[in-house]
């Protein structure tokens, strides 16, 4: 099962490698990992997308909580939440493809943020699945480059992760 784990941790040098090291040492999967400081610069917020059985997920949460720099851990996927990911995708946009690319970007509510004679850079935000769908919908030979941030997640309503 796919899970989105949200972590609040001390914004200390080495905190990221402690988390990453834990996942590799214990053989847990990381599908994506994003991290950045919060409104309080002494804190970082991390989102990890992982997968595993119920037992593995229980261990992941416990082991994360055990790290000294980690303050709080929640499994966002346990309740209502929102996930978003940003993708920048550079595509070939010459001749007959130019119009088609523009149309596809519009359908997916993407924005073209860089234009040359033969290329576009499209910016697209949404749940991971939507970004996957966009890639699927394009002719693969036209994709020049993709960059994805990995998923960021937040609980809905009063589900708040704070110190």
């Amino acid at each position: 099962m796919r899970h989105i784990i949200s972590i609040l941790l001390e914004n200390e040098a080495g905190a990221l490698s402690r988390v990453a090291g834990l996942f590799s040492a214990r053989g847990y999967n990381i599908e994506s990992l994003t991290v950045a400081p919060t409104e309080d610069p002494s804190l970082s917020r991390m989102t990890i997308v992982t997968s595993g059985s119920e037992e593995v997920l229980e261990q992941i949460t416990k082991q994360l909580n055990k790290l000294i720099d980690v303050i709080k851990v929640v499994d966002l996927s346990e309740a209502a939440h929102i996930e978003r990911e940003l993708m920048l995708i550079k595509v070939r946009a010459a001749g007959k493809d130019r119009e088609e690319m523009k149309r596809m970007a519009e359908i997916f509510r993407g924005r073209i943020i860089d234009v040359t004679e033969s290329t576009y850079v499209v910016e697209l935000t949404g749940p991971g699945a939507k970004l996957d769908a966009f890639i699927q919908a394009l002719d693969g030979s036209l994709i020049l480059e993709t960059v994805r941030t990995g998923v960021s997640g937040i609980g809905r309503g009063d589900r708040i992760l704070k110190v």
Partner: protein, 569 residues
């Protein structure tokens, strides 16, 4: 008052009432060594290899419930210390290890004796710090001692660049420390404890299985009271020996790979299993599927939530510290005046009596060759069971665990989790400093002792009257045993050729050496060592049966009830 970082380090150690630091100097810690020289509260014990510095600090911690402290230089000093750190980590031993580092401005430039100590040790410490500002130094030291000694204990590394030890700032050592990201639960959840007590009272075939957590939290006393109050059988893991008196009728011995028939069968066949500060290690429960085959309710008390339901699904988890939870259980039992099911218990004890009747620790004494088990039995007799026994890793370790009947906690020091050959002598050194009035014996093998043999020199310098009980079977015996049993007796590289003359070696280091070849000389040699040479280090080289094996044995991947006994072969 303004102080240099080096002075601050020493002042912090004084504030923490650290009596001994085990260490080895080098370039990046020279400022600190200079400050050590100028005071006499903190005594430095110069070892002969950094691995032994950490093991000795670890031995001090295991035998005294204090935080052990080691200090080493950057680069090779730190990498030599890694085995010691990993050993302590696996057994949850509280240590603070101070490592020197190249000056801050040189970090990352492949400077002389630079290594990424924080990176290298990250997976084998409870936590580590790189101090980048002298103003953070005192607080970091406080945090290090706090983290090492609270919750599930463990080693903490403080990596200090040389320029930080020269820089100055005001010294202010915090009395207490609060960390928003680190809190430990001590009291167990009352509802869970109630549930557990009810399960115990309803049990027909109860079993209590305790581990290192009971020793680490000094809970032998409440454990003994609870076990007696309930009248249940109890076993102690390799790390938990001494938590319950081995001579008591309710004690079934050690469970696991080399545990007793009665302990393993009672673990396997119990309907309610109470696990206390023990982590369901693979060497204890054998094959987890086989273990879970039998329906039983498991109650698990542990301070570390990640120890619970890690390898075996638990029915009643209780996160908390052993003494607190056991006192609460005792209180509930007394308040309810409740009693376990006496008839069921009598039946259960009768079944256990049957397993006990197998007398699985029996071995055949021989008149022409020394049996290793016999040496340990005599060691127990001559020390009156009062010695601190350290051991290395191998067959001798198992015989020491099986035949030295530990009555009290913190008398048995060994590397269980990492299984590090070489710990025995440095553990004895640490234990001797922490327990100057108690005899300390190191049970070892001719393989293991050579992994830290250089510490005979440290023992001489500090006149430590350690007794080295070497069960010299001329083999890496534990390896040979597996090869005999599972590899068609193909003894690949397990024979120890060209052994030194240990008697002469001991003498070369300035100690007493004795060689014993015959069974009738075992006892006189031990007497000589413990009485005549009471105040000296004595190395006894016992030439033991090279073919002796450790039994019972649960082979890797097998279940607890599939033990191999000596008589089966």
């Amino acid at each position: 008052m303004m102080m240099t970082g080096a002075e601050i380090v020493i002042r912090c150690l004084q504030e923490e009432k650290v009596e001994y630091v085990f260490g080895y100097p080098g370039g990046s810690v020279l400022h600190i060594y200079d400050e050590l020289f100028k005071q006499d509260k903190v005594k430095h014990i110069l070892v002969r290899h950094e691995q032994a510095a950490v093991h000795a600090a670890d031995g001090l911690a295991r035998s005294s419930h204090k935080v052990g402290v080691a200090m080493v230089t950057s680069g090779p000093g730190a990498t030599n210390a890694v085995t010691g750190i990993a050993t302590a980590y696996m057994d949850s031993i509280p240590l603070v290890i101070i490592t020197g580092q190249v000056p801050t401005a040189y970090i990352g430039q492949d400077a002389f004796q630079e290594c990424d100590t924080v990176g290298i040790t990250r997976p084998c410490v409870k936590h580590n710090f790189l101090v980048k500002d002298v103003r953070d130094l005192a607080v970091t030291m406080k945090k290090a001692f706090h983290i090492a000694s609270t919750g599930r204990p463990g080693p903490v590394v403080v990596d200090i660049p040389k320029d930080i030890t020269a820089a100055k700032c005001e010294f202010d050592y915090p009395k207490t420390i609060q960390m928003r990201s680190y809190n430990t639960v001590v009291k167990g959840h009352l509802g869970q404890i109630r549930k557990a007590v009810q399960l115990l009272l309803d049990a027909k075939r109860p079993m209590i299985y305790t581990g290192g957590g009971v020793i680490l939290s000094n809970a032998a006393d409440p454990l003994t009271r609870l076990v007696r109050r309930l009248g249940f059988p109890v076993c102690n893991t390799l790390m938990g020996l001494g938590a319950y008196p081995a001579g008591d009728r309710q004690f079934l011995g050690m469970p696991g790979m080399h545990g007793t028939v009665e302990a393993n069968m009672a673990m396997q066949n119990s309907d309610v299993l109470l696990a206390i500060g023990a982590r369901f290690d693979d060497r204890v429960i054998g094959n987890p599927e086989h273990f879970s085959d039998v329906p039983r309710k498991i109650i698990h008390i542990d301070i570390d939530p990640s120890s619970i339901s890690k390898r075996v699904k638990v029915d009643v988890p209780i996160v908390g510290s052993v003494p607190d939870v056991l006192e609460e259980m005792l209180r509930l039992l007394d308040a309810d005046k409740a009693k376990p099911d006496a008839t069921a218990l009598a039946d259960w004890w009768a079944t256990i009596g049957g397993w006990r009747g197998k007398n699985c620790m029996r071995y055949e004494a021989k008149s022409d060759v020394i049996m290793p088990q016999y040496v340990i039995e005599k060691l127990h007799e001559i020390t009156g069971g009062e010695a601190i026994i350290t051991s290395d890793v191998g067959q001798h370790q198992m015989w020491a665990a099986q035949y030295y009947k530990f009555e009290k906690p913190r008398r048995w020091l060994n590397s269980g989790g990492l299984g590090t050959m070489g710990v025995g002598l440095p553990y004895a050194i640490g234990a001797a400093f922490a327990n100057p009035d108690r005899p300390v014996a190191c049970v070892t093998g001719e393989g293991s002792i050579q992994m830290c043999i250089q510490e005979l020199s440290t023992a001489k310098q500090f006149r430590l009257p350690i007794k080295i009980i070497s069960l010299n079977n001329r083999y890496l015996g534990m390896v040979r045993q597996w090869q005999e049993m599972f590899y068609g007796s193909r003894y690949s590289e397990s024979y120890m050729d060209s052994l030194p003359d240990f008697v002469k070696l001991a003498e070369a280091y300035g100690h007493v050496g004795i060689r014993v070849d015959r069974p009738e000389d075992v006892e006189p040699a031990l007497r000589k060592a413990f009485i005549e040479h009471k105040n000296e280090l004595v190395f006894i080289d016992f030439r033991t049966d090279p073919k002796a094996n450790v039994f019972p044995m649960v082979a890797a991947g097998k279940g607890l009830s599939e033990m191999i006994l000596a008589e089966d072969l």
